[in-house]
């Protein structure tokens, strides 16, 4: 198993696509911070909506930036993770390299397990790197604004930040598992990526419409992906969380479930997608794709 994981890690790290996705992911996070800082600067200079500008700027400062950083990871990290997982699973079929792996290690479940574990670990490391990039950018902004200090860092801060990150992992896990499943079933990177995004996008719309429809239809979205993922994503707090989270008017209108409910439902979906991936992979024919 260790040989399989080492090989998977080598393949993932050396692949140009993965390197580009990581660079774009981190680059975008920096750009968002810099743009928001410049925008707040302009708003303050012009003198329009000073409250908004001040709130925006404080979000970028190190002491308050973790919730905002988590929301950024929830959106950009979700997209990057789905691309990397769907692509790395699906490409094995397009290149026929899955046949090479199976010829050398015919126990298929081990091959898939090594691949999924390695991909997930790499994605988590990339999310941590993204967080580090945002914290560094935030620290530089805070320093430039003359607001830098680390007095806010205590055990509670570290604990809350860790919980936020764990919530992020649970919120994204079923989408990553879905990308892997679709990569396996569709036997292509395109299936893994495109259908995952399609499902995420459409499921959100359908879930929202069902919530708005009321009655028994409104009881279904709490057992779907989007409602629960949003619940966890927005639970990370901050100003956006306050605007759209459980306790907000919007959150109540959409009948958002509790955090535990959301976590359990998402974990169940992630597990179901994983089981389906293994089931499909064990049974499927690995024909040569010319």
């Amino acid at each position: 198993m260790s040989a399989l994981i080492a090989i998977e890690f080598t393949k993932i790290v050396r692949r140009r696509l993965n390197q580009i996705v990581l660079a774009v992911f981190c680059g975008l996070l920096v750009v968002v911070y810099v743009l928001l800082w410049l925008a707040s600067d302009v708003v303050i200079e012009v003198g329009a909506a000073p409250d908004v500008a001040t709130r925006l700027r404080s979000t970028l400062y190190l002491q308050e930036t973790v919730p905002f950083a988590m929301l950024m990871l929830y959106s950009f990290g979700f997209v990057s993770g789905v691309v990397v997982i769907g692509s790395n699973v699906g490409s094995e079929y397009g290149w026929n390299t899955i046949r090479m792996l199976i010829a050398a290690e015919p126990r298929r479940e081990r091959v898939l397990l090594a691949k999924l574990v390695t991909l997930w670990v790499v994605v988590v490391l990339a999310l941590l790197l993204g967080l580090a990039v945002m914290l560094t950018t935030s620290a530089l902004i805070t320093l430039a604004a003359g607001q830098f200090n680390l007095s806010f860092v205590d055990a509670a801060y570290v604990r809350d930040s860790t919980y936020s990150f764990l919530r992020l992992l649970v919120a994204t896990a079923p989408y990553f598992a879905l990308a892997a499943l679709l990569g396996v079933v569709g036997k292509s990177a395109t299936a893994g990526i495109a259908i995952s995004f399609g499902v995420a996008f459409l499921e959100g719309i359908v879930g929202s419409l069902m919530s708005l429809a009321g009655g028994w239809l409104a009881e279904i979205p709490p057992y779907m992906l989007d409602t629960n993922a949003d619940t966890l994503g927005l639970a990370n707090g901050g100003q956006i969380g306050a605007m759209f989270g459980n306790s907000s008017a919007i959150g109540q209108a959409f009948n958002r479930p509790s955090l535990w409910h959301a976590a359990i439902v998402l974990a169940c979906w992630a597990a179901a997608f994983m089981v389906a991936s293994f089931w499909a992979f064990r049974r499927q024919d690995l024909e040569y794709q010319g």
Binding site: A6, R14, R16, N96, T97, R99, M100, A104, P106, D285
Partner: protein
């Protein structure tokens, strides 16, 4: 069509078989790609698997390699069932089926190193394999930049690197230049002489004739003939008879009446027939009917002629 009983010839009973196919069947919906194939391959044999496109050769090899799952039947390698003990069954199997498969963004060497690591081989085997297929100098280049021939050679290197007991090669000379093709032809008997069993699927019948000790001919998913090349060649002799066009219909009737004669096929100016009768018997029969044959020529069978006879629809009379 001449029929050959596959069941009477498939077994090579001298040694315990390295590979046994028992009633191997693969269906895709209504299409039966492989139909109840029974085949034994013994240690050190080079089995040529022949058949027209779509005959089920590649599907059979994919089943042997465990890439696709049989609908029915079983693949047994070295006494291990591929279904119940895939790891043990495929441990000593190397294959190149339908083309090489490597990561395009990694070098040839790194691709082989990954296989070596998976199989628990020392890195020295990678150098050995690269040397075997003459890719040492190109080892650091990305696989995606390799030519078709280099890709094929790397595939062969990957298949042979762990010194397998059974090697499955599907069109291994595809994409190779004449020198590479010759090297491959020389390589196969060499690896077989070391006790490795080889299954070679190829469209190049002369190549098969030169290197294989036994052939199995497939059509429509079934093995329709199997045996040593010599045994297939010892089939009923075939003759070509040329008579004037005006007498051809009558000559056909006469020849069909000759003892121990199979079908008589007219093709262009000639009549082709399978018979154990001698050339003088045929000539005499025609002369007795007042027909003078300008040519009565025995046809020396080749693997190609046997293959065509077995697999190609007989021309209309």
């Amino acid at each position: 069509m001449v029929t050959t009983s596959p069941t009477s010839e498939v077994a090579a009973p001298a040694d315990p078989p390295v590979l046994e196919l028992r009633g191997l069947t693969k269906r895709y919906g209504a299409l039966t790609a492989v139909s109840s194939v029974d085949l034994n391959v013994s240690a050190g044999e080079i089995l040529g698997l022949l058949g027209p496109n779509g005959s089920g050769k590649s599907t059979t090899l994919n089943l042997v390699m465990g890439f696709i799952r049989p609908t029915a039947g079983e693949v047994i390698i070295d006494g291990h069932s591929l279904r119940t003990a895939p790891r043990a069954a495929l441990q000593d199997v190397g294959g190149l089926v339908e083309g090489s498969a490597f990561y395009p963004y990694l070098s040839g060497r790194l691709n082989l190193e990954m296989i070596a690591r998976l199989r628990g081989l020392p890195t020295g085997r990678v150098d050995e394999a690269l040397e075997l297929v003459d890719l040492t100098r190109a080892a650091q280049r990305r696989f995606g930049d390799y030519s078709q021939g280099m890709r094929q050679r790397l595939g062969v290197a990957g298949a042979l690197m762990h010194h397998p007991r059974l090697v499955v090669l599907d069109e291994p000379t595809s994409g190779l230049d004449p020198a590479g093709t010759r090297e491959m032809r020389e390589l196969l008997p060499r690896i077989a002489s070391a006790g490795t069993t080889v299954i070679l699927a190829s469209h190049l019948l002369t190549e098969v004739e030169q290197v294989c000790t036994r052939v199995a001919i497939m059509q429509a998913g079934a093995v329709i003939a199997s045996g040593t090349i010599e045994s297939l060649m010892k089939r009923r002799p075939r003759w070509r008879v040329r008579v004037p066009a005006s007498k051809r219909a009558r000559a056909l009737e006469i020849l069909q009446g000759v003892r121990d004669t199979g079908r008589v096929q007219p093709l262009e100016e000639d009549l082709f027939l399978d018979t154990t009768a001698s050339g003088s018997d045929l000539n005499r029969a025609l002369l007795d009917a007042g027909i003078i044959a300008s040519e009565v020529v025995p046809i020396v069978p080749t693997l190609e002629s046997i293959f065509m006879e077995l697999t190609v629809q007989a021309p209309a009379s």
